[in-house]
């Protein structure tokens, strides 16, 4: 039987052609997808905050925001870096605290508490925030980023994390 003359059958030549093309496509897809996942690996990492103990609650006075600095171990590929991070702690009453990430929600500058104006002022682009973190003026797109915190055995403990800057939504960086 001559396969080449039978229109319903595939000729030997085109069968081999299809086979080679299929194997080639399979190899290309395997290597292509594996290298794509490999290159995009930084997107797949797990996120989440770092538990940080800020010290005894007696160190914070009501009505006076306090800047607290602490090191956070950050994995940079195969290197572990100790980054210096900071938060503003506002004491609400005996047991409740508000903790702000000490970076302006506009583009990440460090802001300060102005005792005279009773506002947080950002020197970079003039962002202004109230004691409870609301935007009073300037370019910041959202209020200051609050962090989860609780008092454990007389110590203030926070979950430090950072959020994407320059956008109205508070989403993980």
């Amino acid at each position: 039987m001559d396969l080449a003359e039978d229109k319903d059958k595939v000729s030997r030549r085109s069968f081999l052609g299809y086979t080679i093309a299929s194997i080639g496509a399979f190899i290309a897809a395997t290597v292509g997808s594996a290298t794509a996942i490999f290159a995009a690996s930084p997107l797949l990492g797990t996120r989440g905050g770092t538990r940080v103990t800020l010290g005894p609650v007696s160190g914070f006075q009501q009505g006076i925001p306090k800047l607290v600095q602490f090191p956070v171990a950050r994995k940079d590929g195969w290197i572990v870096e100790n980054d210096q991070k900071s938060v503003w702690v506002v004491r609400e009453d005996e047991t409740r605290f508000t903790v702000f990430v000490a970076r302006c929600t506009h583009l990440g500058c460090a802001f300060n508490w102005s005792p005279s104006a009773q506002e947080f002022l950002c020197p970079c682009h003039g962002g202004r925030f109230s004691l409870d973190g609301q935007v009073l003026g300037g370019p910041p797109p959202r209020s200051l980023d609050r962090l989860d915190n609780q008092v454990e055995g007389g110590n203030l403990v926070i979950n430090y994390e950072e959020f994407r800057l320059g956008i109205p939504q508070k989403v993980e960086a």
């Binding site: 594996a34 290298t35 690996s41 195969w78 290197i79």
Partner: protein, 229 residues
């Protein structure tokens, strides 16, 4: 698809340029033994691709090389797969190059008019060995360190120029940071450029001359040697 192709073809003249390269007449009687060259080329391309991606995470310094390699293997998604392909691909390439060369020797395919192809092939063999030697150091583990110590000391035993060769390879008296950076540069920049050039010459000659006929075919038809010219 075919409309895109004809649009391209009309402007770039692809079919007329590349059909003679891709659809060549081959002599009677060739078989699996004739596929080792193409197999080597395939593995080389695979090494190039996986190597480019490995370079995204590898750091060629004594402080970081080992940690960055173990980071690739343990933390990067698909890292052990990509590194595994590059690791085993290196061995596969040496094996395939040798099989390819054995085929050429046993079938006397290096004879006129293909001596030039053979010479270029010898350089490609040496380049493959250089790839293996320089790549072996990069993980910067004990095996890498001592293998390179031994290898460079062997270069040091060469009469007259041994001392210079040793220092040139190591970038100093001792194996260290400079050895690692120069091996890395040679492995990922110098050797690929040279190998690419020599592969181009090798393939040009193969396409231009056609592949050699098997000895038994040639015995019946001596002109088969020159087929395709």
């Amino acid at each position: 698809m075919s409309r895109v192709y004809s649009w391209l073809d009309e402007r770039a003249d692809l079919t007329r340029t590349f059909s003679p390269l891709l659809f060549r007449k081959i002599p009677k009687g060739v078989g699996w033994w004739y596929t080792f060259g193409s197999a080597t080329l395939f593995v080389f391309v695979l090494q190039a691709v996986t190597g480019i991606f490995l370079a995204m995470y590898y750091s060629p310094s004594p402080d970081h090389a080992y940690d960055s390699v173990s980071y690739i293997s343990n933390d990067v998604a698909m890292g052990s797969f990509i590194r595994g392909l590059h690791h085993w691909g290196a061995s596969a390439m040496v094996v395939l190059v040798v099989l390819h060369m054995l085929r050429i020797v046993l079938m006397a395919a290096y004879k006129y008019p293909r001596e030039l192809t053979w010479f270029v092939g010898i350089f490609l063999l040496l380049l493959t060995m250089a790839f293996g030697f320089t790549g072996y150091l990069l993980p910067w583990d004990e095996k890498a360190y001592w293998a390179t110590t031994v290898g460079t000391n062997m270069a040091g035993t060469v009469p007259l120029i041994g001392g210079w060769a040793l220092q040139l390879l190591r970038g100093g008296q001792e194996l260290g940071a400079v050895t690692l950076t120069r091996f890395y540069a040679v492995h990922m920049l110098v050797l690929p450029a040279l190998t690419g050039t020599f592969i181009a010459a090798h393939l040009y000659l193969v396409v231009k001359q056609g592949i050699s006929a098997p000895p038994e075919i040639e015995r019946e038809d001596p002109v088969a040697r020159l087929q395709g010219r």
